[in-house]
C-alpha cells in the first residue's frame, strides 16, 4: 500500500481530522459532564460535598499551571531568551521563532543596514551592504545564531514586551489565527553609513580599522574593520578555516596592535600632569638605559642614513616640539624620568587592561578591549623606555585610541562609546585634568600645522592629531593616526589603523583627513 498521496489533499484531510478530533474530544467531555447526574452512585449514601473545597483548590492549581504554560506556549515571543534559544537550537522548521519579522537595523539617518525578507516561506535576514557593517551589526542566522548588535538587541528586534493595548490585540490575533509572523521593532544605530562606506573604501585592500566617534556623547559614527565577512552568506567555512585575514575578528574593538608614537599622547599627558617643564637633550645617536642595549633613536636618523647623510639630532628641545616631531629619544627619556609607578598609575587611570562593555544583554555583550600592558619589573628601565614610545609589550585596540583622542577633545573626560541612539551617554572616567587636556590639544594641533602630519593640514578644517608608525614582528610597520577636529571645538575624534601600512603620516593620516572633511560636508562637523 504505497499509493502516492497528493500533499495538498493530505493537508486538507489533516485539517478536517484535526478539527474532528478536537470536536470529538469536546463532545466526549460534554457527555461525561452531562451523564454525571445519570450515572450517580445511587446505591451509596448521599454525597455530602466534603471534598468540594479540595477539588476547587485542585482546579485552581491546574488552572494556574495552564496559565503559566500559556506564558511559554502562547506568549513565548515575549521571552527573548527563549526566542533566541529556539532560533539557535530548535530544529523544528515550523517553529514561529524562525519566522519572526525582526525589526530593521538603521543608521542614524535611516539607511537600512539589515532587514528581514521572506525567502521560501522562511524569514531571512538581509544585509544590503554585505561585509561593510558586519563588525557592528553582526549576523542573525538560524544555524549559527547571532552576533554583534543582532545578538545584543535581540529582544528589541524580536518585538520586546507588549506595551500598548494594540500590542496585546495584535498578539491575540496572531495566536488565534496561527499567524506565525510576529513583528519586531526597528533599531537605530549611531553609525553613519556614508562615512563608514568611505572608511572602507579608503582602507582599500589593506587590513585595518577605522573608528570615528563623538567626544561629547560617545556616539560611534564609524566602526570599520577590514577584511570583514559577508553576513548574508555565513557558513561553516568561515569558522573552520584558519585564515590569516581573520575576517571574524573585529579589529577595531578586539584587534591588539602596538600603538607606536600615538601613545605619546598618553605619555605627554602624564608628564604635563606631573609638572614636567623644560627640555631634554636628544642627540642623534639616541638613548639607552644601559650600555649594550640597542639604542632608541629618532626616525630622522634612519632617514638620513638611508640617504648617506648625517643627521645632527634635535639637541635640547621641549615637550611640545618633541611631540610635534615625535621624538623617540625625548619620550624614552621622559618615560624613564617619570618612573614605573607613575607610568602604571597613568595606564590604570586610562583604563588599559580592561574590557569596556558598550551594550549589555542576556544574549551577548558588545564590548571593546582597551589594550594590554603586562607588568614590568621595577628594574627594567629599558622596557619602560620602550613602552614610552608605544613599543615593547604594549598593545592597544584602535577603538581605545579613538577613546583616548576623544578624552583629550572632551577636556579630559572619556565618554562610554555607544552604538544606539536610544542609549544614554555616560562618562567612563577622567583620563587627565582639564588643563592638561587643553595643553595637549594645542600640542596635537601643532603636529598638523608644523609636525609629522603637515601633509593633511587643510584650510577647510582645523585637524589636531598624532601620527604613529609602529614597528611589529610581522613586517612593515603599522600606520596610525589618531586625532580630532575641529581643534578649538572638537566634534569628532578619529583613530585610523592600517596594518603594515608604513608611515602614519603617509597612509593613515590622509584617510583620517578625508573622513573628517566628509564629515564636515555632511554636517557632522558644523
Amino acid at each position: 500500500m504505497t499509493l502516492p498521496l497528493d500533499p495538498s489533499l493530505w493537508s486538507a484531510v489533516r485539517l478536517v481530522l484535526h478539527v474532528a478530533f478536537f470536536l470529538a474530544i469536546f463532545f466526549l467531555l460534554k457527555e461525561l459532564v452531562a451523564l454525571r447526574e445519570f450515572a450517580q452512585l445511587r446505591h451509596l449514601p448521599k454525597p455530602k460535598g466534603a471534598f468540594r473545597i479540595p477539588f476547587i483548590l485542585l482546579c485552581l492549581l491546574f488552572g494556574g499551571l495552564l496559565i503559566y504554560q500559556a506564558t511559554w506556549q502562547l506568549t513565548g515571543v515575549y521571552r527573548p531568551e527563549f526566542i533566541s534559544f529556539m532560533q539557535l537550537h530548535d530544529r523544528r522548521t515550523f517553529n514561529p521563532a524562525h519566522w519572526i519579522q525582526r525589526g530593521r537595523i538603521l543608521d542614524r539617518k535611516g539607511v537600512v543596514l539589515a532587514y528581514t525578507r521572506e525567502e521560501q516561506g522562511r524569514a531571512e535576514r538581509v544585509y544590503p551592504d554585505g561585509p561593510l557593517f558586519a563588525p557592528v551589526v553582526g549576523y542573525s542566522q538560524p544555524r549559527f545564531g547571532a552576533t554583534g548588535m543582532e545578538a545584543v538587541a535581540s529582544a528589541h528586534l524580536n518585538g520586546g514586551e507588549p506595551t500598548s493595548l494594540n500590542d496585546w490585540r495584535e498578539l491575540g490575533r496572531q495566536i488565534v489565527a496561527r499567524d506565525k509572523r510576529p513583528k519586531g521593532k526597528d533599531l537605530v544605530l549611531t553609525l553613519d553609513a556614508d562615512l563608514q562606506r568611505l572608511a572602507a573604501e579608503r582602507l582599500g585592500g589593506h587590513r585595518g580599522a577605522v573608528v570615528l566617534l563623538s567626544p561629547r556623547d560617545g556616539a560611534v559614527r564609524v566602526l570599520a574593520s577590514l577584511p570583514s565577512y559577508d553576513p548574508n552568506t555565513v557558513d561553516s567555512g568561515l569558522f573552520l578555516n584558519p585564515n590569516a585575514s581573520a575576517p571574524l575578528l573585529n579589529r577595531a574593538t578586539q584587534g591588539l596592535y602596538p600603538p607606536g608614537s600615538t601613545f605619546k599622547i598618553a605619555v605627554a599627558s602624564l608628564a604635563i600632569e606631573r609638572g614636567f617643564e623644560g627640555t631634554l637633550d636628544c642627540p642623534a645617536n639616541g638613548f639607552t638605559t644601559r650600555a649594550g642595549y640597542r639604542r632608541i633613536r629618532d626616525h630622522e636618523y634612519y632617514t638620513a642614513r638611508e640617504h648617506g647623510e648625517v643627521w645632527r639630532g634635535y639637541g635640547r628641545i621641549d615637550l611640545s616640539k618633541a611631540f610635534a616631531k615625535s621624538s623617540n629619544v625625548f619620550f624614552a627619556q621622559l618615560g624613564v624620568l617619570e618612573g614605573h609607578d607613575a607610568f602604571y598609575a597613568m595606564a590604570d587611570k586610562m583604563l588599559l587592561n580592561r574590557s569596556i562593555v558598550l551594550h549589555e544583554s542576556p544574549y551577548g555583550n558588545f564590548s571593546l578591549r582597551t589594550g594590554e600592558l603586562p607588568p614590568l619589573p621595577d628594574s627594567d628601565n629599558y622596557g619602560l623606555a620602550q613602552l614610552s614610545i608605544g613599543q615593547g609589550r604594549l598593545l592597544v585596540t584602535p577603538a581605545y585610541m579613538a577613546m583616548l583622542a576623544a578624552s583629550v577633545a572632551n577636556r579630559g573626560v572619556a565618554m562610554r562609546p555607544r552604538l544606539t541612539e536610544a542609549s544614554p551617554s555616560e562618562p567612563l572616567g577622567r583620563f587627565m585634568s582639564t588643563a592638561t587636556a587643553d595643553q595637549l590639544a594645542a600640542m596635537m594641533r601643532r603636529v598638523v600645522t608644523e609636525g609629522t602630519a603637515r601633509s593633511i593640514n587643510d584650510p577647510r578644517l582645523t585637524i589636531a592629531g598624532k601620527t604613529g608608525t609602529a614597528q611589529n614582528a610581522h613586517g612593515d610597520p603599522h600606520s596610525w593616526f589618531v586625532g580630532f577636529a575641529p581643534a578649538d571645538r572638537p566634534m569628532l575624534a578619529v583613530a585610523v589603523l592600517v596594518e603594515q601600512g608604513g608611515y602614519g603620516s603617509a597612509v593613515a593620516a590622509p584617510i583620517a583627513h578625508d573622513l573628517l572633511i566628509r564629515a564636515q560636508e555632511i554636517g557632522l562637523i558644523h
Partner: protein, 474 residues
C-alpha cells in the same frame, strides 16, 4: 425488581445491569470513536511522510476497542454497579496514552512478542481482576494486612536497592522496570489501614498547646524514616514527594487535624534544604529550573526543547503526528505532555487536563460517598497519589516547578507506572461498588472493625477539614 423509567439503583439481574450501565457504553463508544480519529491522524501523517501503511497498523486501535468492549461486558456480567464516569474518563486517558505512545513509535506492532503490545490489555485485565476480587466490601479485608503492606513496601525498595542498575541518575530493576512504582499502592494500603485503625488517638492532640500524639505516630514515623532513607539512596525524590504529600493528605482526612499539614509543611521545608544540600542531582535540577538559560545546551536542554516544541505548537498544534517531538530527548516518557502541546497545542493540553480533573473529581466524589473509614482513606490516598504525580509531571515539563523525573499517569511510556495506575483504579472501582448487600451486612460487620468506626468520626472530619487538603501539593 420492578422496571422503572430510572435505572434501578441496585441491579441484580443481567438485564438490569445492562440497562444501568448504558452511560458507560455510550461514553466508551465515544472514546473509541475519538481515539480512532486520533489513530487516523497519526497514520495519515506517517503515510504522508512516506511511511508505508500496513493492515497491522490498525492493530493497536483494534486492541483498544476490543479491550473497552471486553471491559464493559465483564463488568456487566459481574453485575458490577459501581462507578461509570471514572472508568470512562480513564478509558479516554489510557487511550490517549496509547495513541501518544503509538505516535512516538514506542509500540512496535510488527513484532507480536513485544511485551509493550500487551501492556494495555494486561492493565485492563489486572484492573478488572482487582475490582471484581475486592468488590462488595471485600476490600475491607485488605486492612488486616497492615504490616504485610508495610513489609512489602520496604522489601520492594530494598530489593531494588540491592539488585537494581543505575541509569540516568536513578535506580531501575532489570529491563528498566521500576518495581517501586508499586509503592504507590502498597504504601497507600498501609497508610489507610494504619490511620483507620488509630484514627481516634491520632486525632487527639491534647488540650492547651496542640502537639501530635507522638507515641501513636511512632511506628508510622519509623516506617517513613526507613522508606525515605532508601528512596533517597536511590535518588527517587519524585516518588518520595508523592508519597509524603499523600501521607499528609491521608492523615488530615483521617483525623481532621489541620496540624498535620502545618507540621508536614515545616518538615518538608527542612527536608528540602537538607536533601538539596546533599544531592548534586537535585541541585542541578533546581538550577535548570531557576536559571534555564544559564546552561541551555546542558542541564536545561531537555526542558527547553520541550518548551520549544510547545511554543511551536501554539494554540491548536501542528496536528497529531505532524510535529518533531524527536528533538526533545526521551519525549515519550516524562515529556509526553510537551509532545501533546506540540502536536495538539494549548487547546489539546487544556482538554487533557480537564479529563484529569474530571477523573480526580469523580475519585473524590466516590470517597465522599463512602462511609467505610478504610475505603474512604484508601480512595483519597490513591487519588492524591495520582493527582500529585500528574501535577509534578505537568509542572516539571512546563517549568512551573523543578523536574522530578516522574511519569504522567496513563499517558507516559512506562509499564510499571501504567499497571500501577490500573491497580489503583481497580481498587477505587471496588470501593465505589459500596459495602456488601444489606442482607449480608450484619455478618460482615463483625469482621471489619474499620467500617464500624467510620461513621462515628466522619462528621468531625467532613466539615472543616477540607480546606488545605491540596494546598501543599506543589
Amino acid at each position: 425488581m420492578n422496571a422503572t423509567p430510572k435505572p434501578p439503583s441496585r441491579p441484580s439481574t443481567l438485564g438490569d445491569t445492562w440497562a444501568l450501565r448504558w452511560p458507560e457504553r455510550h461514553l466508551l463508544l465515544l472514546c473509541a470513536l475519538t481515539i480512532g480519529l486520533g489513530f487516523m491522524m497519526v497514520l495519515g501523517s506517517g503515510y504522508a511522510g512516506g511511511r508505508p501503511v500496513s493492515p497491522l497498523d490498525l492493530l493497536p486501535f483494534g486492541i483498544y476497542g476490543g479491550c473497552l468492549a471486553v471491559m464493559h461486558l465483564t463488568l456487566v456480567a459481574a453485575r458490577f454497579h459501581g462507578d461509570q464516569i471514572l472508568l470512562s474518563s480513564l478509558a479516554f486517558l489510557a487511550g490517549f496514552g496509547l495513541l501518544a505512545q503509538y505516535r512516538m513509535g514506542t509500540l512496535d506492532f510488527s513484532d507480536p512478542t513485544n511485551p509493550g503490545l500487551y501492556l494495555f490489555p494486561g492493565g485492563i485485565a489486572v484492573m478488572l481482576a482487582v475490582c471484581i476480587a475486592l468488590v462488595r466490601g471485600r476490600y475491607e479485608r485488605l486492612t488486616a494486612g497492615l504490616w504485610v503492606w508495610a513489609a512489602l513496601s520496604l522489601l520492594l525498595v530494598a530489593a531494588l536497592l540491592a539488585l537494581g542498575q543505575r541509569y540516568r541518575g536513578g535506580v531501575y530493576g532489570v529491563g528498566l522496570i521500576t518495581p517501586t512504582e508499586l509503592l504507590k499502592v502498597t504504601v497507600v494500603l498501609f497508610l489507610a489501614s494504619f490511620i483507620d485503625r488509630h484514627a481516634k488517638p491520632l486525632a487527639n492532640w491534647g488540650k492547651g498547646f496542640p502537639r501530635p500524639p507522638v507515641l501513636t505516630l511512632l511506628p508510622l514515623l519509623a516506617f517513613w524514616g526507613l522508606l525515605a532513607g532508601m528512596l533517597l539512596l536511590q535518588r527517587d525524590l519524585g516518588m518520595f514527594v508523592i508519597l509524603s504529600v499523600t501521607l499528609l493528605v491521608m492523615l488530615f482526612v483521617g483525623t481532621g487535624r489541620l496540624g498535620y499539614l502545618v507540621l508536614g509543611g515545616l518538615a518538608a521545608t527542612v527536608a528540602g534544604y537538607l536533601v538539596l544540600g546533599i544531592f548534586s542531582h537535585g541541585q542541578r535540577r533546581i538550577q535548570a529550573w531557576l536559571a534555564p538559560f544559564d546552561d541551555p545546551t546542558g542541564n536545561s536542554w531537555q526542558i527547553l526543547q520541550g518548551l520549544s516544541g510547545m511554543y511551536s505548537g501554539g494554540l491548536w498544534g501542528e496536528g497529531f503526528g505532524a510535529g518533531n517531538p524527536e528533538y526533545t530527548p526521551i519525549a515519550q516518557s516524562d515529556f509526553i505532555y510537551s509532545v501533546i502541546g506540540e502536536e495538539l497545542g494549548f487547546v489539546g493540553c487544556t482538554l487533557l487536563v480537564l479529563f484529569f480533573l474530571i477523573f480526580f473529581s469523580r475519585g473524590l466524589g466516590i470517597a465522599d460517598q463512602t462511609r467505610s473509614g478504610f475505603g474512604r482513606l484508601l480512595c483519597i490516598g490513591l487519588i492524591s497519589v495520582l493527582a500529585t504525580q500528574t501535577f509534578l509531571n505537568l509542572g516539571g515539563v512546563t517549568k512551573l516547578i523543578p523536574l522530578t523525573g516522574i511519569t504522567l499517569p496513563f499517558i507516559s511510556h512506562g509499564g510499571s507506572s501504567l499497571i500501577t495506575g490500573f491497580i489503583s483504579l481497580g481498587l477505587i472501582l471496588a470501593i465505589s461498588e459500596g459495602p456488601a448487600r444489606t442482607q449480608r451486612r450484619g455478618s460482615r460487620a463483625s469482621k471489619s472493625t474499620g467500617s464500624k468506626r467510620a461513621p462515628v468520626k466522619q462528621p468531625r472530619a467532613a466539615g472543616k477539614k477540607s480546606r488545605a487538603r491540596k494546598t501543599d501539593d506543589h
